[in-house]
């Protein structure tokens, strides 16, 4: 939305905004906690409120056509797009394309956690969607693996909903999340944070029954004899995010294998002329406000490429 509005502001006449979901706003809609907008709006908003500010501006702009429930299945190097929407497969050719596809969660399978494969192991962001959008509570007693902001935010969210959050387990010697989230999400609710520990096994037959937790040394190897067990029926995995660039990759754009972001000389650029990537699709940001700032730049870059307003 920020890129679309900035492109319009820079003179682009015709913007098509393709959204997979029924509503605009993306991940902001499930991020119901406050902390958004301090830079961009100079006030503290929740994710849905932050999104709502942009939705209203987008809807008020006759030069932006919004197509919800539209799933892009193909992008070509000369900027032809195919997308599915209810009842139709549409084809469109764009002068410039901005990919604002966000990122995906790293999953349990991407980190080594031995043990069985019972139900009750969720990526933290998926659990966030279940609780905040669908209204389901995923379990009664939870352990959270990883102390990134999503893990911390979900620890508080689950605790508020009456789930016993037994522990947050972080392999590094400090939380990867913001200091304010350690305070207001863990300390406020008396949730223990085990730094320099890792979940060494998930146990359970049909459903998670417990996790084994072990202390690790400076080389991240288990310290013998340090393991203990925490009973729980749910494990939330919050171990990082990966930029989503399948469309760019399929179009032949260069991808940095280390980050899965576009391989590019500067922010928002890709190896394909006229194709830009912004926000978490380009690199994973800590703050939504920074995504907005750089996405606005992407909108202006696309306008410049099109020679708009010239």
């Amino acid at each position: 939305m920020a890129a679309a509005l900035a492109a319009r502001g820079a003179g682009v006449k015709d913007v098509l905004l393709l959204e997979r979901d029924r509503h605009l706003g993306g991940i902001l809609n499930q991020c119901i906690h406050p902390g958004f907008g301090l830079h961009h709006f100079k006030e503290e908003l929740t994710g849905p409120e932050y999104a709502d500010r942009f939705v209203r501006r987008v809807e008020a702009d006759p030069g932006i056509e919004v197509s919800p429930r539209s799933f892009v299945v193909r992008l070509t190097p000369d900027r032809e797009l195919s997308y599915l929407r209810p009842g139709a497969l549409e084809e469109v050719r764009a002068g410039a394309v901005i990919l604002a596809t966000g990122c995906r969660e790293r999953t349990r399978e991407m980190i080594p956690i031995p043990g069985s494969r019972p139900a009750g192991v969720y990526p933290a962001g998926l659990a966030q969607k279940m609780v905040n959008i669908e209204g389901w509570i995923p379990g009664r007693e939870a352990v959270i693996v990883g102390s990134g902001d999503i893990g911390l935010i979900m620890a508080r969210r689950m605790a508020l909903e009456g789930v016993k959050v037994r522990a947050v387990v972080e392999i590094q010697d400090r939380s990867r999340g913001l200091a304010r989230n350690v305070v207001q999400c863990l300390e406020d609710f008396g949730i223990p944070l085990h730094l320099r520990h890792r979940v060494s096994a998930i146990r359970g037959r049909d459903r998670v029954e417990s996790v084994d937790v072990a202390r690790v040394d400076a080389d991240l190897r288990d310290v013998p004899g340090s393991a203990f067990s925490i009973p729980c029926d749910t494990v939330l995995v919050s171990v990082g995010l990966i930029p989503e660039n399948e469309l760019l990759e399929a179009a032949g754009g260069a991808i940095d294998p280390a980050t899965n972001g576009p391989a590019a000389p500067a922010v928002n650029l890709t190896s394909l002329p006229g194709v830009f990537a912004c926000g978490n699709a380009f690199k994973v940001y800590d703050l939504a406000d920074s995504v907005t700032r750089d996405s606005e730049l992407a909108g202006r870059l696309a306008a410049g490429y099109l020679g708009a307003g010239a």
Binding site: I32, T46, L160, E161, R180
Partner: protein
Amino acid sequence: MKRTLTCIECPKGCRLEIECDGARVTRVGGNKCPRGDAYARQETEAPMRTLTTCVLTRGLELRMLPVRTSGPIPKGRLPEAMEAVKRVVVTSPVKAGSVVARDFLGLGVDLVACRRLNAL
């Protein structure tokens, strides 16, 4: 008495050094802005938090509506507030800022919707 706190007003997370005489704050250091000073005093004297959560809906586009208190409430009353939230069901369309429950729990703040939800 001296204590340190991590400020939660913004993502900077300043380390606040607070000197107090009983429950009264006499000096605040380490803050990079005036909000840190105010937070240190409030947190020492009577900690407050803004509650954000979701309430059930009936007949609207989504099953859950994100809501927040229009201002901070005493931290100790969060569990009671969550119990009260569970009894709220929203059945009419709302916009961001629509009041869902006025003077929530008599705390002088409203429970307000954080997004628009139309009828199904």
